[in-house]
Symmetry: C2
Subunit: 344 residues, 2 copies
Amino acid sequence: MAPVKNGRHLFNEIPVGYPIPGKTTVYDDSQTIDLDTVQLNGGILIKALAFSIDPYMRGMMRPATVKSYVPAYTIGKPLGNSGVGVVLRSENSSFKPGDHVYAYFPFQEYIVQTDVANVRVLENKENLPWSTYVGAAGMPGQTAYIGWKVFSKAKKGETVFVTTGAGPVGSIVAQLAKHDGLKVIASAGSDEKVEFMKKIGVDVAFNYKTTDTVKVLEEHGPIDIYWDNVGGATLEAALDAASNFARFIECGMISQYNETSPYGVKNLWNIITKRLSVNGFLVLDHMAPESTKDFYDTVPAMIAKGDIVFLEDKKYGLEKVGEAILDVQSGKNHGKSVIVVAEE
Amino acid sequence: MAPVKNGRHLFNEIPVGYPIPGKTTVYDDSQTIDLDTVQLNGGILIKALAFSIDPYMRGMMRPATVKSYVPAYTIGKPLGNSGVGVVLRSENSSFKPGDHVYAYFPFQEYIVQTDVANVRVLENKENLPWSTYVGAAGMPGQTAYIGWKVFSKAKKGETVFVTTGAGPVGSIVAQLAKHDGLKVIASAGSDEKVEFMKKIGVDVAFNYKTTDTVKVLEEHGPIDIYWDNVGGATLEAALDAASNFARFIECGMISQYNETSPYGVKNLWNIITKRLSVNGFLVLDHMAPESTKDFYDTVPAMIAKGDIVFLEDKKYGLEKVGEAILDVQSGKNHGKSVIVVAEE
């Protein structure tokens, strides 16, 4: 067969503030690949189906000299993130053509993967759409599920405040909290998102752009658990509204990622007087098979039963990656941002 | 016997910024007490020997309407804090004249204590000076010992940064850390205190007023444990210097207590990227007999053996309370601040 186009989405330059589509990242279709003859060197050839677009990708758009918990993207090379694809050819006995696989992949249409140590074959007994496996049944879902299990110490009747409560992580945290019998306060940045939060059972859903977070927490708090996806002034409000011995799960600070002068939190004194436990958390530390087995045994089934519902914001084609990234950074996405690269 | 003077030190007005001796608090000698005939109502009559002066007392100098973890002092009534006294008379079979007792007491020369639930009889098998029991063998020592045991998760070979490392809590933390085989970095506010820290085994002792904390931590870090007694910019430096999975023990923020505009900490993002565990801690939560038994079994013996050494800053007479409080708030004390009310 003749070589086919292998479109990619590349990191082009380090952004200051928000990443700009076509400038920070660019789509490139200059490469081709011969699917029949490309050398696999003992690995597998994958056709990409869906990629996840996540807030933390902003942190990878930095000089390689700046250390962080994730590697930096390399200028001129493809971006990357978790994705689902289908195996076209395999030289490894653990994979066969037609298998659906999940891993961190470069953003390109076809991928030759020689290091398969972290490539998971998805069983999908529930027959969920494959994009689900980069969202509610993928890293965002794992973030919510494992973070909640490990750090919340939730007790029935307690109150939790979840930020980005309509987002791919926050909406699942809210549903897990309701499942555990908690009162859920949750915030998001549009009235449409507020409606969605009400639909999934959030007790006090509000639009932080039009309603004062401090007042909501004064009226409906104090809070026993704070799930932080935003940081900054909202974290400050949560510290003031915390009850004694509250648990803060620090999962993200999206209000700060694109700030050139970050917000100074002035009331950390509450950590002592209220004996708070503030825990930073990265799902990357909890990806070992024994940590994720429980997740894959539980969450896809909950989704299939309708116990966990979620929204997806799908964009079609690798050309749309830059736009999707900016939407996620500025909160314009409605639900889990997914790039659909190909349908089967 | 004729009534004798019963001197007291009273809370006089709520301070703005630093408490001012003679204004925020005042000494009063208008009251008398008849030691032979004063009604005990089933309680005990105590002659005060020594009172502790601690940083957290500043937090009790507030309007009663402002909630906190400790009650507010009442204007016109005596201040109070932990102290040691000797029993003169007793109507309770658990106490006999001559017993030495430890509890939270009002700042007066003689105290009639009817609620004896929290009054501990001190055995003092080691024959330590009684003032030790408001310092290294009292609440500051318990703060260090219990906080270290519960929250440090210290492992041999790790590095800890201890603030106020010459103080009554910090100096004991530093010695416990050395005892556990850690490298200890510690800061204090004078060269004299730096000398003391070196004497007790601190590996990297520095004067934060003349040496840049950020640079010290860059050179001698990263740190696996941070014992925070100061907050503010020092906490910010510790966040930047933390290693992954570091533990922050938030015990005090004395840099912030007298600030009318508190410092905004801008790098909390480190909590997530480094997966930090930040725990607020009050020794008051750990005062149950089962929590303190280990402490009283261990620490007085370590002091007697010389495994824990400490400094005391003694002032004589209840008149000196205001001055002692200001010294502690401004860091002028050299060692544990104690008011000696009477020698036996």
